[in-house]
């Protein structure tokens, strides 16, 4: 591994299915933003996901941290006073799989022919590294808006997720407004008659 221009890794897969993967962050409290594009791999296949949720919890399930800051002036003081805290907490995030890039091998290529906006044949491997995609990759991935149909079915938070991922992708495009208009139209088509959902999303991405 260790390709030259790979973006820095931010975590490691700890749970995976074909439609989602969960990773633990290397840095506490530093998950990738909600709606951002991340990727991991399974063999030669790069798997892309949109960050669906992130959470920081105690490393021991069932045990919750207790409040410690009564005597501290500022929040950072708590961590300074109890450095072991960082070891007792963890930040995890879950990404919804939205596409994959099959068989690129080790060769970085500009052409997107193998970029698919649907689920990969196999889930990510546990302990695979997870990277936050840079703007360029994010822009390239969102050239096609086919991944939106996966987000539309994401359950309770789907609308928030769509809006967040589009805001995130828009920032990577040269003409964010054009991108959002195009995306908005795609969403309008996907949602069909669900006008209320549509306008909710549009209000969240309006430029």
């Amino acid at each position: 591994m260790g390709r030259i221009d790979s973006p820095p890794k931010i975590g490691e897969v700890i749970e995976a299915s074909t439609s989602e993967f969960t990773a633990q962050c290397y840095e506490l409290h530093q998950p990738p933003p909600f709606g951002s594009l991340v990727k991991t791999r399974e063999g030669d296949v790069e798997i892309y996901g949109v960050v669906l949720r992130a959470a920081t919890t105690s490393i021991e399930p069932g045990r919750r941290p207790i409040a410690r800051g009564r005597d501290e002036e500022e929040e950072e003081g708590i961590y300074r006073a109890s450095p072991q805290l960082e070891k007792l907490l963890r930040t995890d995030f879950t990404a919804l799989v939205v596409g994959h890039n099959a068989g690129r091998g080790g060769v970085e290529t500009e052409n997107d022919e193998k970029l698919h906006h649907y689920l990969p044949p196999r889930p990510a491997r546990i302990h695979s590294f997870v990277y936050l995609c840079d703007l360029k990759e994010s822009a390239r991935f969102s050239q096609s808006l086919d991944f939106l149909s996966i987000l539309v079915g994401a359950g309770g938070q789907a609308d928030e997720l769509i809006a967040a991922s589009l805001r995130y992708a828009a920032a990577a495009h040269q003409e964010p407004r054009d991108f959002l208009t195009r995306a908005g139209r795609e969403v309008a088509v996907l949602l069909g008659g669900e006008t209320n959902r549509l306008t909710t999303i549009l209000r969240r991405i309006k430029w």
Binding site: R177, L180, T181, G184, R185, V187, A188, V189, G192, G193, E194, T195, N196, L198, T199, L202, R203, K206, W207
Partner: protein
């Protein structure tokens, strides 16, 4: 160059036409009914007309609770996706592109384009392929909406059957009819006899802004003769007339009086009495003899001897006596008008009969009927002869009448010569060009025999219905017809055009327009004559 893409076909049927969903980039406001589109089907291209434009939404909820339209972003996203425009298109013809179908030309549609076929604005070439390329000397009637291509109206085809120009008052019927007559003359498709009620076809007419426009004789001095019923008026208007019409009492037959029943206000009994009078005094003598009777007593005696009510005869006398104010009616005509007209027609001269000051229906109906009946009888005789004896047939004749419903109403169509001509089509080489602003007043059967209909704006439902009776795609065309401009636009359909077409009527009245129609100024004519002489004599 690719024409502008409008959308895709989403549903439809052969009988009702197809529905087209507009692309989001196209605003419904840029669309107009009556325009042509070409649909790129899987195997062939379809050519059709836009007949309706609709606003639609994928979710009816949007209509009840509209989104925040103050936000341009939201509006932009919704337009073309959740809310969109739809076109209704009536495909009429298919255009193949292989060699064979190019040869065959456009064919009537027998199916519809497949789902999602792309719809574009028609190119000028497609329009030209449908309506035919207009050659230098060929007549065209106008251009389709927003296009430059000329729409040919084939005079040859037109005169094969009767045709009609309709439209409410002031929409351009007279201008259209004049153009059509010019086309017929220009291409020599037929000779014309025009009953010119308002004296606007022979020498000159007027346009709305009171400018004079040239009429037929000025454009074609060697091919048009003006016959005048009102010498004084003609002289005042400086019309160069060829013949002053007089009609002898002897020419008027009881049938002619039947036609005047309404305008003269005659009872049925009075009309019947004219037949008795004709039997009593003789066909050619009855009117003169009847009008010569003056005293009440004498009329009373006549009534008694005919077995009529005295009052009937007295009323009839009074009404017929009022015909005397028509100065062209004389006891003895100096010349035989019918013979003269026929001579001119035989020489290929077109005859315009001007009414001058006699712009009332009595004069118009009386004269048009009387002359047409005789002329038709002659044509008929000669056609029958020609069929038997192998002599040349008389030239095709087109008779133009205004206010056609006065001759062709349901009550009259069965009895009048005009009804006969309309029904027998061109059996005797005579057809009609009828001009009317109230087509619903024309007998239905006659309407159905009219081969080519050229109709300007009509706003009365019954008139629209009557014009469109028996046309396929009626309800679609209805929408188009009701949306025509109030001037210089016409919907043409029927025999002489391959498919219904909305045209902007070509401009008429400017020096340029005369020139395009073959008019040569005197100077130019002189020069031409000199040039020809030079060629001839060196």
């Amino acid at each position: 160059m690719e024409e502008r893409r409008l959308g895709i076909v989403v549903s439809g049927s052969l009988t009702r036409g197809v529905e087209v969903r507009l692309d989001s980039a196209i605003s419904v406001e840029d669309i107009a009914v009556g325009r042509y589109v070409t649909i790129e089907g899987e195997k062939r291209r379809f050519f059709g007309m836009i007949t309706d434009v609709t606003l639609d939404a994928s979710d009816p909820g949007l209509m009840t609770t509209p989104p925040d339209v103050s936000d341009p972003f939201i509006v932009e996203v919704l337009c073309g996706t959740s809310i969109f425009g739809r076109l209704h298109v009536l495909p009429s013809l298919t255009l193949g592109s292989d060699a064979m179908s190019l040869l065959e030309g456009p064919q009537p549609v027998k199916t519809v384009p497949t789902h999602f076929s792309v719809v574009r604005e028609s190119s000028e070439e497609d329009v030209a392929r449908v309506f035919g390329q207009v050659e230098e000397k060929q007549f065209y009637i106008g251009t389709p909406l927003d296009m430059e291509t000329k729409v040919r109206l084939n005079p040859e085809e037109l005169v094969k059957r009767s045709s009609g120009v309709f439209g409410k008052s002031g929409t351009g019927k007279t201008f259209l009819a004049r153009l059509i007559l010019i086309g017929i003359i220009q291409e020599g498709a037929a000779v014309n006899l025009v009953f010119d009620m308002h004296s606007e076809y022979g020498w000159e007419g007027t346009s709305e802004d009171n400018r004079k426009v040239k009429a037929l004789k000025q454009l074609f001095p060697s091919k048009v003769a003006v016959f005048a019923l009102d010498e004084e008026s003609a002289r005042r208007r400086k019309v160069s007339t060829d013949f002053i019409v007089e009609i002898g009492y002897g020419e008027i037959e009881p049938e002619d009086i039947t036609m005047l029943r309404e305008t003269l206000g005659l009872t049925e009994a009075a009309v019947q009495a004219t037949y008795r009078l004709a039997r009593r005094f003789g066909e050619r003598k009855w009117l003169e003899s009847f009008l010569a009777i003056e005293g009440r007593e004498e009329l009373g005696e006549l009534a008694q001897s005919l077995g009529e009510h005295e009052a009937t005869i007295a009323a009839l006398h009074r009404r017929l006596d009022s015909l005397k104010r028509l100065r062209f009616l004389v006891p003895q005509a100096r010349d035989n008008t019918i013979q003269r007209i026929l001579e001119y027609l035989d020489r290929g001269m077109n005859v315009v009969l001007e009414f001058g000051r006699y712009t009332d229906y009595t004069a118009y109906i009386l004269v048009a009927n009387l002359l047409t009946r005789r002329i038709h009888a002659q044509y008929r005789e000669r056609m029958e002869q020609a069929m038997g004896e192998d002599i040349t047939k008389p030239r095709p004749l087109v008779i133009t009448i205004e206010e056609a419903h006065r001759f062709l109403s349901q009550e009259l169509a069965g009895q009048t010569i005009f009804g006969t001509i309309a029904r027998e089509m061109r059996k005797y080489n005579v057809t009609l060009l009828v001009i009317d602003q109230r087509p619903s007043g024309i007998d239905e059967e006659v309407m159905s025999q009219i081969g080519t209909k050229i109709t300007c704006l009509l706003d009365n439902e019954r008139d629209i219905d009557s014009v469109l009776t028996g046309v396929s795609g009626k309800s679609e065309l209805k929408a188009v017809l009701a949306k025509l401009d109030s001037k210089q636009q016409a919907l043409i359909f029927g025999h002489a055009v391959p498919m219904p077409v909305v045209v902007r009527t070509r401009e008429y009245g400017s020096p340029q327009s005369y020139k395009e129609l073959g008019f040569r100024e005197a100077l130019e004519l002189k020069k031409q004559a000199e040039d020809e002489a030079k060629d001839l004599w060196g």
